[in-house]
């Protein structure tokens, strides 16, 4: 559906016969195309601006290697900067703490919190040999607590027994106690979805955080999110102490620009990606793969690397 960035940039640079260092004018023209490509990939406009400024500063004056075109050279610089911004501080889930290590999922409605909770529980149980309990604090969505209970059964992971009529903060309190008494290593808290401009529900998230004192608070967000990704990451980040981002539906064919937006705006690392609906469809985040997707490029980077 989209023309790739490298196609476009070659278009621009084909016109240039000049070789040697990239001039300010060349780079500026190229940045217009980069801007367009990033916006088409759903990178938020404000993030695009600061990104292209940075790339421009790096690209102007760079020598173009003989075996590649100026367009390919710029794509390489863009890609490297993208990878750097997406994940220079790649890190996983942190378990180094006295048990029970509490982790909380937050995010918009339908972003994949409950599924991610179960996937993470499955991974921690099978791979990291942790004794895990999950608790749903979602008292609003119909059958939300039942959903987590069923997933717990599928994953062979304990879930906090459902008690009707308790508030999310009451459940959080009960969950922490139960995890402590039961000798669990990890307690995963699934919360109800909420729009980040819903004051009442955002205050509830903060209240839950205060009670549960999570060691990890993960923002679970859809990789298909558009421009709103910045607002969402910013607002959640302002209300709770986010430690990372989980990007879901990476198995879709979205360009995934939201990853860059959220990363840039929250300053928090993307720790995991969801790549399907099943329990084992959870993977570590590889910045280079998402970068390639955002730019919609084939092998230009490899080409320049070899040159």
């Amino acid at each position: 559906m989209f023309e790739t960035l490298s196609d476009r940039l070659s278009g621009i640079f084909d016109k240039l016969t000049r070789r040697g260092a990239l001039s300010e004018a060349d780079v500026s023209e190229a940045m217009r195309e980069v801007r367009r490509a990033l916006i088409e990939a759903d990178v938020a406009l404000d993030v695009v601006k600061s990104f292209t400024d940075r790339v421009k500063a790096k690209a102007v004056g760079q020598d173009v290697v003989k075996s590649v075109t100026p367009g390919q050279m710029v794509v390489k610089i863009v890609n490297d900067e993208l990878v750097r911004m997406l994940g220079s501080d790649a890190q996983g889930i942190d378990l180094r703490r006295n048990p029970p290590v509490v982790m909380m999922m937050v995010g918009l409605q339908g972003s994949g919190k409950t599924t991610t909770t179960a996937k993470l529980a499955h991974r921690l149980t099978t791979r990291d040999k942790q004794k895990v309990m999950m608790a749903s604090l979602d008292t609003r969505r119909p059958a939300a607590q039942e959903q987590l209970r069923v997933l717990g059964e599928q994953a062979n992971v304990a879930t906090l027994p459902i008690v009707e009529g308790q508030s999310p903060t009451e459940i959080a309190e009960r969950a922490v106690k139960a995890a402590r008494l039961g000798g669990f290593d990890v307690l995963l808290l699934d919360t109800a979805g909420r729009t980040h401009i819903d004051e009442e529900l955002m205050a509830e998230t903060a209240a839950i955080e205060k009670i549960a004192q999570p060691h990890e608070t993960l923002l679970v967000a859809d990789a298909l999110t558009g421009q709103d990704a910045v607002n969402l990451a910013k607002n959640f980040g302002e209300r709770v102490d986010l430690t990372g981002i989980v990007l879901t539906r990476v198995d879709g064919d979205g360009r995934g620009g939201a990853a860059l937006s959220m990363r840039a705006v929250s300053g928090k690392p993307i720790k995991l990606i969801g790549v399907g609906e099943k329990l084992d469809a959870l993977e570590d985040f590889h910045p280079d793969r998402i970068a390639g997707r955002i730019l919609g490029m084939g092998d230009v980077v490899g080409l320049v690397e070899k040159a």
């Binding site: 059958a143 959903q147 709103d228 910045v230 539906r249």
Partner: protein, 299 residues
């Protein structure tokens, strides 16, 4: 460069200018891009605004022009969901990507139909996701609609078939069929939808009378691919846009309206049963152009 904070999310900053110069147009285009309209659409609206009001235009009017252009694209597709009275039942198959709000929208629609005196039946065609059947049953109980469900893992086409049989036998007015969320790039899951459609036709060759695609307003450019593939494979006829109570503007809908021309029946504005409104192109366009925010800022 400007920080995200300094850059206004709306046109407030633009309105201090006197003339519609290129810079103003650039900033207007940004407003549209930030609402997810996408480049092609934003460029087009920019060009239109320019050509129609080339000279002597106060920047104050520009926002109105933009809103008007967006509304012009949306007007033809803003249509309520009409039931075919000849159909007994009128079958509505609800499809979409994971988590967009299909099951909730079914609950809201069922409530609307019931309030208009129609008898409604629901079919639990999501036999995959944990507690999806329970979720639909709770909605069914809320609106007083019978829910036809089989066990977890059952063939969704079988559920749909049985539900249509039952609805026909009982003379039900509307049958709403829930389906599991699926990404449009998963061929096998999409084929499952095609099968549901085929099976329904065995009982009523005019069914499904409506294939409703539920789109999440927070989705970016990928929504275009969603509409295209779901239309190709499941024969989508109508759209509903959900989650417009968040801060996302759902601007991709404008590009979708222009590209596909499918009717947009309603919007979801919350999780409650009443949080459902007809699609109003003017409100929608005004929200995209940031009119609401501007009034807030002025107040």
């Amino acid at each position: 460069s400007r920080t995200s904070n300094a850059l206004s999310d709306n046109l407030t900053g633009v309105l201090t200018k006197r003339k519609l110069d290129e810079e103003t147009l650039d900033e207007l285009e940004e407003v549209l891009l930030k609402a997810d309209l996408g480049f092609a659409m934003a460029d087009r609206i920019r060009a239109l605004s320019k050509s129609r009001h080339d000279k002597g235009l106060g920047a104050d009017d520009v926002r109105a022009i933009l809103a008007e252009e967006v509304a012009r694209v949306l007007e033809p597709v803003a249509q309520p969901l009409e039931l075919d009275d000849a159909a007994k039942p009128h079958v509505i198959l609800v499809v979409g990507v994971n988590g967009t709000g299909k099951t909730t929208t079914i609950g809201k629609l069922a409530h609307l139909f019931a309030r208009n005196g129609k008898s409604v039946m629901l079919a639990a065609g999501d036999t995959f996701r944990a507690a999806a059947i329970d979720q639909l049953k709770i909605w069914g109980a809320r609106v007083g609609a019978e829910v036809i469900a089989k066990s977890v893992g059952a063939d969704p086409a079988g559920v749909a078939f049985e539900a249509l049989e039952r609805a026909q036998a009982s003379g039900t007015d509307v049958l709403l069929i829930d389906t599991a969320g699926r990404l449009h790039n998963k061929g096998d899951l999409m084929a499952e939808l095609a099968k549901i459609v085929r099976v329904l036709k065995k009982l009523d060759e005019t069914a499904p009378h409506t294939v409703l695609l539920v789109l999440d307003a927070t989705t970016g450019q990928n929504a275009l691919n969603q509409v295209q593939t779901f239309r190709e494979i499941a024969g989508v006829t109508n759209l509903v846009v959900t989650k417009l109570d968040g801060s996302a503007r759902g601007g991709i809908v404008v590009a979708i309206a222009e590209t596909f021309g499918l009717p947009i029946n309603a919007v979801g504005v919350g999780e409650g049963i009443e949080d459902f409104e007809p699609f109003d192109p003017h409100d929608f366009a005004a929200a995209i152009a940031g009119a609401g925010q501007e009034n807030d800022a002025a107040a």
